[in-house]
């Protein structure tokens, strides 16, 4: 459905031929595009290629080309089925999905709260959500080691409420990883969700209520559908980085919370098996691309501009 382009067009007061536009593009966008292509696109393609190579005795990258790395990821071990890597993939999806769900549950009330503030306070309430997001994630994550540590107020509270055993720290644990994720990614969900709440057409909710819907029904049928596009954008903004998280499970989790990011680090660091590490990274990338594709479909179906 390409429209025929005129050979010459007036762009902002300048008469430019198609060639002239290309030249100007090269002089302006060209540098940045070349830079990102060389230092990111080429390396990413390199990862795809190396994921089919073999690890040499000293960790070097060797021929022959093989599917062994992907087979290992899928659990084909030397001695039959090896659940280690399928478990890690599954766990990344579960922990990432779980973290997204927790963020969503927390972001809903917060978005309605911010949107319900009087005009002057709205911006402040929103900025207050964003400020922690701009402070270093590493710092916010290790701080939870202090907050969830053995003698901390929270740990004692948990013991007092019977939620934890005496003397047992709340971290490292999957619980601590969820806390870290919520702390890291809540703003990612609040921002798009708040925008959706701002745009809500409340007359639909009122109409539903007038027609006898109870509060749950009003929310489910009159409000939730309107929030959906914002929600999908926010969910992806959380889920995508969450499954690739390396710092949070590393500092707040243990052996039982190893995720894709940690597995990649293991292969590129101590194990020095770059081809296998590349295969894991490639799978991570594929999941991200899938997520983005879904987002494009959803927003295209809605006839709106994508989240980007």
């Amino acid at each position: 459905m390409k429209k025929a382009q005129p050979t010459r067009a007036i762009r902002y007061g300048e008469l430019l031929t198609r060639g002239g536009q290309r030249l100007r593009s090269a002089m302006t966008s060209g540098w940045g595009i070349a830079w990102v292509t060389l230092f990111l696109l080429v390396p990413l393609l390199g990862i795809a290629w190396i994921s089919f190579m073999t690890r040499g005795t000293y960790g070097e990258i060797q021929w022959p080309a093989t599917f062994a790395n992907y087979q290992r990821l899928l659990g084909f071990g030397v001695l039959g089925f090896d659940s280690q890597y399928p478990t890690i993939i599954l766990r990344s999806l579960v922990l990432g999905g779980g973290a997204t769900l927790v963020c969503l549950i927390a972001a809903l009330p917060l978005s309605f709260f911010i949107a319900g503030q009087p005009e002057g306070r709205k911006q402040i309430a929103l900025t207050l959500v964003v400020i922690p997001f701009w402070t270093n994630l590493l710092i916010r994550t290790y701080a939870w080691q202090i907050l969830l540590g053995q003698d901390s107020v929270l740990a004692r509270l948990a013991v007092g409420l019977g939620l934890a055993e005496v003397g047992r720290p709340l971290y490292p644990s999957a619980f601590a990883v969820y806390i870290g994720m919520l702390c890291a990614y809540l703003p990612f969900l609040v921002l798009p969700l708040y925008t959706a709440v701002e745009k809500l057409d409340w007359s639909i909710a009122e109409a539903a209520a007038d027609l006898g819907a109870n509060r749950v029904q009003v929310f489910r049928h009159a409000i939730l559908p309107q929030l959906l596009p914002g929600m999908v954008a926010g969910i992806l903004l959380v889920f995508i980085p969450a499954i690739g998280q390396f710092v949070i499970p590393d500092l707040l989790g243990g052996a039982k919370t190893v995720m894709l990011g940690n597995a990649i680090q293991q292969q590129f660091g101590p194990s020095r098996d770059w081809p296998f590490g590349s295969a894991i990274a490639f799978v991570g990338m594929a999941v991200v691309m899938l997520g983005l594709w879904i987002n494009t479909r959803v927003t295209a179906a809605k006839g709106e501009e994508g989240m980007l």
Partner: protein
């Protein structure tokens, strides 16, 4: 239409508290006299003194700022040109490239980091270029900063009145003159905001630096990570407090710079 009831107030207050708890605890513990963390043992500022006496930490701070300044300078120039070019001129494959620009924004940083690490290693082995260190970190940071600057600049371009540039051309200015004397000054708030965003991203980055650094080029986040792995110490809390302070002040300044000229419809 909607009133904020008491339960919503309570839930929201708890969530705000939750978001700020880690920052507050780091700041508070940086003034705690206890040597190995643990309960409060009185107020002290000696950990800040310890910090200034540590050449290792001062070097890391220096590295972090050199890295952030250098990469931000390069990324701001390239990103501004990119944002300008993408919104002004058409070329074949523009849609594809505009889409590719978002890869650094959406890709998990660890995937980006190992891809770069491997690229540098392979190029080094075959061409002798790119020994891991400050240079490779700068290259990597510029790579993920460019799109963010471009996005900010581009969104400002969209909201700009084309009549201003048209007027410049009608009055006989060349394209270069128009860009330099008309477009760029109008873009300046966005360029500054984009640069500040890029600067903060560089300061905050741990994962990419961690993988693309070399001997002698430790940055503050890398230093914090390796210290935390050995056990949290009060001077690390003091260091973190200073970092938090810098990024919060930076963010507020960046927000204020971007706001006054923004109109309602803009994103």
């Amino acid at each position: 239409m909607k009133r904020v009831g008491l339960p919503l107030w309570i839930v929201s207050a708890l969530l705000y508290a939750f978001l700020y708890a880690p920052i507050v605890v780091v700041i508070v513990f940086s003034f705690n006299a206890a040597r190995y963390g643990g309960p409060w043992q009185g107020f002290t500022t000696k950990w800040y003194g310890v910090l200034l006496d540590s050449p290792e930490k001062l070097l890391a701070a220096k590295n972090t700022f050199i890295l952030a300044f250098t990469s931000t300078m390069i990324a701001t120039i390239l990103g501004t040109l990119l944002g300008y070019g993408l919104s002004r001129y058409d070329f074949p494959g523009k849609k594809l490239f505009s889409w590719l620009m978002y890869i650094p924004v959406v890709i998990p940083d660890i995937v980006m980091a190992v891809a770069m690490l491997m690229f540098y290693a392979l190029v080094r082995d075959s061409l002798g270029l790119f020994p891991l260190g400050m240079m490779t970190m700068v290259l990597s940071h510029v790579t993920f900063q460019i799109p963010f600057v471009a996005i900010v600049v581009r969104s400002r371009m969209v909201g700009m009145d084309p009549a201003i540039e048209e007027a410049a051309h009608d009055l006989g200015a060349t394209s270069l003159q128009t860009f330099w004397y008309v477009t760029l000054p109008l873009l300046l708030p966005a360029v500054v905001a984009g640069a500040m965003l890029a600067f903060t991203l560089s300061l905050d980055d741990f994962v990419v630096s961690f993988f693309t650094t070399g001997p002698g080029a430790t940055t503050l986040p890398i230093l914090i990570y390796s210290s935390v792995k050995r056990g949290i110490t009060p001077d690390i809390n003091a260091l973190s407090t200073l970092i938090v302070l810098v990024s919060v002040v930076g963010t507020i300044v960046a927000t204020l710079l971007q706001r006054p000229r923004r109109t309602q419809g803009e994103r």
